[in-house]
Amino acid sequence: DLIQKLDAAFKRFRNAGKLNEKNIAEAMRDIRRVLLEADVNYQVVKQFVASVQEKAVGQEVLQSITPGQQIVKIVHDELVHLLGQAHVPLKWGGHVPSVIMIVGLQGSGKTTFTGKLALFLRKQEHQPLLAALDVYRPAAVEQLQTLGESLGLPVFTGDRKSPVAIAEAAVREARKTHRDVLLLDTAGRLHIDQDMMDELMSIRKTVKPQEILFVADSMTGQDAVRSAREFMDRLDFDGIVLTKMDGDAKGGAALSIRSITGKPIKFIGTGEKLDQLEPFHPDRMASRIIG
């Protein structure tokens, strides 16, 4: 991990004499490598290391008897700062129902997250209605229905043909049946698929969600910024969800997506069961990335 690498590096430096800016530059190479191996985006790493280097050539590090630890602290604090706030809440706003739209690439965990979010909201005394807007993937509607059934929550399927029409009808259904929050599960899609991205914009225009959540797989590599940027440009989403955090991926995509979009990471998925949803903790994420 980073602290071991830097400690070893600085042991070499101190034996060679006084710590100086050249030593710091070498330490930055170690930091760069750790971040790239953690899947942080190449350009984001460049900026990050530059800003850490600036802080690291300060007097505290140069005078310190444990410069390695000092630098790790700078890296950790900078990561925490960039990763954003913990516990950023969902947006509400006096609408009935409040509409939450769930989007992202294929297989990222949207449908499972929709179920998790529904349980989370029910525990907070809300009455969620789930809507199955994925009319493409085989048995996607059945998948959401199964999750809804397991929670004792209604799932609206509409005409199973047109996602925009289903979304509109789901809003009417929510009002009719006094459900105060509507969760729209959408089909996974590529950010470069014009028609499918247009579909999302159309759904958004039609039902004007209070909250759009971009669901991303925490094991995503360098591609994270490409998809996040495109979804951001098209939808200006409100928050990010990182899934499969129960895996052993370092999760550098968190920093990449956050840097590119500036949006808060609101939840993390920590398993396949519907209660395996947690709020985001930037300090834990920072330790994981450089750990």
Binding site: E37, Y42, Q106, G107, G109, A139, D217, D223
Partner: protein
């Protein structure tokens, strides 16, 4: 030409960025750049611009690393040929099985599909649709059934019916989950007990958007049940899947298939040249 004049620091940095941004990883990118630095380029003007020579060299090197004599071919080792399909959650296993079934049926083979994902919501229903689309039968049980017993029953049926190929779908699982990897080992063992040599192919389905964790996935699945080939999915996106270089170099596991879409025909035999081009393009 003098390597130093063409391989300027700027150019090397550009190449490093290109390789890392395609998920080749720091180590693989470094060794490709080392190979570049130590290569003797021709200074005869007929060989083209130095920059072009450099890119051609990189492309050829990547292509050589991944080239297979028979991508997309099915070895007829046994009957039924049992292919166990594994990988982490959401990588594209079930969809790839649908595509494989159709591909094989199209090339004149009889195929049976086994739904050994008895865990995830609507997994069986999803595989059913794909089986119907491919025009093949699907053996499955209800949610909660023991996946090893489904695999066993499906192999019995495959033997009884004399089919050419049995494709076994499994639940997505993270490689760091010990109990889930034990479950996978049991599925593989049970297949081997019923038919010595089975499973003959163990296909790791890997999402091309995966970063460095992809190497770890391959290592762990290989350790658990052995992996004979990789199917790299979602290459129709912008991710380049460079992690397969490290998988091939360190584990010797070849990529045989490329998933390039969500339709039944969207599975191509892996093309190392096209892949190298995509990585550097």
């Amino acid at each position: 030409f003098q390597n130093k004049t063409v391989l300027s620091d700027d150019m090397l940095e550009e190449i490093e960025a290109l390789l890392i941004e395609s998920d080749a990883g720091v180590e693989t990118s470094q060794s490709l750049i080392d190979a570049l630095k130590s290569h003797q380029f021709s200074s005869d003007t007929g060989s083209g611009q130095p920059e072009d020579q450099v890119m051609r060299f990189l492309k050829r090197t990547i292509q050589e690393m991944l080239k297979e004599d028979d991508p997309g071919s099915i070895r007829e080792t046994a009957r039924p040929l049992v292919m166990l399909v594994v990988g982490v959650n959401g990588s594209g296993k079930t969809t790839t099985i649908g595509k494989l079934a159709w591909n094989m049926k199209d090339s004149g083979r009889t195929v049976l599909v086994a739904g050994a994902d008895t865990f995830r919501a609507a997994a069986g229903e999803q595989l059913d649709v794909w089986a119907k689309r491919a025009g093949v039968d699907c053996i499955r049980q209800t949610t909660g059934a023991d996946p090893a017993s489904v695999a066993f029953d499906a192999l019995e049926a495959a033997v009884a019916r004399g089919v050419d190929v049995l494709l076994v779908d499994t639940a997505g699982r993270l490689h760091n989950k010990v109990n889930l990897m034990e479950e996978l080992k049991k599925i593989s063992r049970v297949l081997g007990k019923r038919l010595p040599g089975a499973p003959h192919e163990i296909v790791l389905v890997l999402d091309a958007t995966t970063g460095q964790n992809g190497l770890r996935q391959a290592e762990q699945f290989a350790r658990a049940v052995g992996v004979t080939q990789v199917a790299l999915t979602k290459l129709d996106g912008t991710a380049r899947g460079g992690i397969v270089l490290a998988i091939k170099n360190t584990l010797g596991i070849p990529v045989k298939w490329a998933g390039v879409g969500e339709g039944i025909g969207d599975l191509l035999p892996f093309d190392a040249e096209a892949f190298a081009e995509g990585m550097l393009g």
